[in-house]
Amino acid sequence: MTPPPGAPPQTAAPARVRLPLRRPEQGRWFAGVATGLAAHLDVPVALVRIILVALVPAAGAGLAAYVFWWITVPVGDPAAVAAAARPSALQRLARRQTLRSDGRRVPWAELALGALLVLAAAVMVAMRLGADIDAAWALPVLVVLVGVALAWSQLDAVQRGRPDGRRISVLRLIGGGLLAAAGVLLVAGQAVGQGVEPVLLLQSGVAALAVLLGVGLVMAPWWVRLARELGDERAARAREAERADIAAHLHDSVLQTLALIRARADEPAEVARMARAQERELREWLYDDRHEPGTSLVAALRAVVAEVEDSRSGPSGEPVAVDVVVVGDRVPDPDTLALLQATREALVNAVVHGRPPVSLYLEVGPDAVEVFVRDRGDGFDLEDVGPDRFGVRESIMGRVRRRGGTARVTSSPARGTEVHLCMPVGGGGSGRGEDEDEEHEA
């Protein structure tokens, strides 16, 4: 899948990259060999078909080549395979190539098989009716061949990965096996009819079975390894898909922000804000466990911080970054929602009236959730804030206290302002430690 280490790096040059050899589903007449070859060699399909047919009289070369490719070339859409093989980092850079598709597909292979079977049956019936056809050996062999073909055709079905593929492939295998067995019995009957000893026939049958078993035993490790490698490859492909997903997201959002920044390069405050927003988003993508919405208090808190950082500015219009440190996490409930709203108000206060750096610390304990919001401003005296001012008194402290929490503001010119909110909660915090023994601090 990956290019060899020494290979020159793929570039997004407009030249068509050669598609890998696959037998596509669309546009096939029989097994898709000609269509696949045409896509691989980038020549018209008709040309490939004519050449193949023209080669048939040459000692069956065309037919042999067709059957060889049918067996060895896997089914698949060459364009899709090429896209998957491309490194995800280049996913957005390279032009997609697709096959012209005409959608419908006649199951020629199955029809041909059916026709052969009908022919065989017709010949048998004709022989019963007394027609003198010397097909004593040809018929059973034909039946065996059809059975084998039916069993082999499951290869296609499995590779196509249809949801019901497994069931159908089992049916094909059983049908093929029955036909082949019937063919073998016919041959045996023919042989006995021509005077071969049944005991000898049985002996050779047992010998053949023993050989088959031996070959199976020898091949088993190889088969197991093949299956294991297939699993590994699937896992690798899943990882690659995830990486491509992230790469696509990052390309989009980062490129967009860079374009915006360039367009507004003469507004430093705006540029700083956009850079900060982009940094935050990247960090979230790179380092955070992505939670389901509504399951993480930390995720909700980060959303609040993002909103404040994006919408509020410091006293002189500069954007302010908030340093967030969290310990533990839990599922949000109405109490923590009130705590979050109070936290938001405290953050807005710190950003708008305080001085950076602004720090936010959230600690989720087994009995309480605590929040500290700190800035390095000159501080203010709570007593000086008039009772008519709703900011601190109502929206921060009132919100938390009504829910049974505590709120405390400490402020001094030397140390800035710190708002401490504490909300008691029931169980369910991820304050870890199942082996919690005793001892809270005095």
């Binding site: 440190v325 310990v327 610390y361 087994p366 082996d435 919690e436 001892e439």
Partner: protein
């Protein structure tokens, strides 16, 4: 003023090294630079600086990044490492601390604080950023009130250490922590170093599980 502290700067981004060099004040002197694991090990062995400012993510070597540099430099006595990272990921940070780095700061630290941190590490003390303090509280289950009763316990923080960690996580400087707890800055440094030792040596269940969950082991 005394002699400046010699520092080797290890980071794979040239721009970042230039920026750090320009921002460090006169108390610190950059005597060497390296951009990948192998050259970093080489430079540290050649120069034997008291402090190495080490990026957590580095190319080269066996792919172990900053932690690999620390491991391969254990034979250089007197050299201490301060991890420097843009990453928020606990696994990056804790991996470097566990192999022996004396502290961790984020790359958006202000220049004054970075010089302070270098001096502190040179003096044998530990440097904790708020985020690292948060990791520690998380990993030791301190938020759940799980604290040690004796001094010799490696697997839990003492009540005092927990208090110090909480203040650092809240954005307090060492000096502010000292003022808040009515202790000396030296005592704060002692507590932080003790926490660092626990972080490096403890095989506490939670820490192990926590590290395993983050694929650190």
């Amino acid at each position: 003023m005394s002699e400046p502290v010699d520092v080797v700067l290890v980071d794979d981004h040239h721009m970042f090294r230039a920026g750090v060099k320009a921002s460090l004040d006169a108390r610190v002197r950059v005597v060497g630079e390296a951009a990948d694991v192998d050259s970093a090990v080489q430079v540290v062995h050649d120069v034997r600086p008291p402090v190495v400012l080490l990026d957590v993510h580095l190319p080269g070597g066996d792919g172990g990044g900053g932690a690999e540099v620390v491991r391969r430099c254990v034979d250089v006595p007197g050299t201490r490492f301060l991890a420097l990272s843009v990453s928020d990921a606990a696994e990056d940070v804790v991996a470097v601390i566990r192999v022996g780095a004396r502290g961790y700061v984020t790359k958006n630290i202000d220049p004054q604080a970075l010089s302070d941190a270098v001096l502190r590490v040179a003096g044998g003390d530990a440097v904790f950023s708020p985020r690292l303090a948060g990791f520690v509280l998380d990993a030791f289950g301190a938020a759940a009130g799980d604290v040690a009763t004796g001094d010799d316990e490696l697997d839990r923080l003492s009540a005092r250490e927990r208090e110090v960690m909480r203040l650092i996580a809240r954005g307090y400087t060492y000096r502010e922590v000292a003022g808040e707890l009515f202790i000396s800055v030296k005592t704060v440094e002692t507590h932080v170093s003790a926490v660092l030792r626990k972080l490096q040596l403890s095989n506490r269940n939670e820490l192990t599980r926590w590290a395993a969950a983050r694929r650190l082991l």
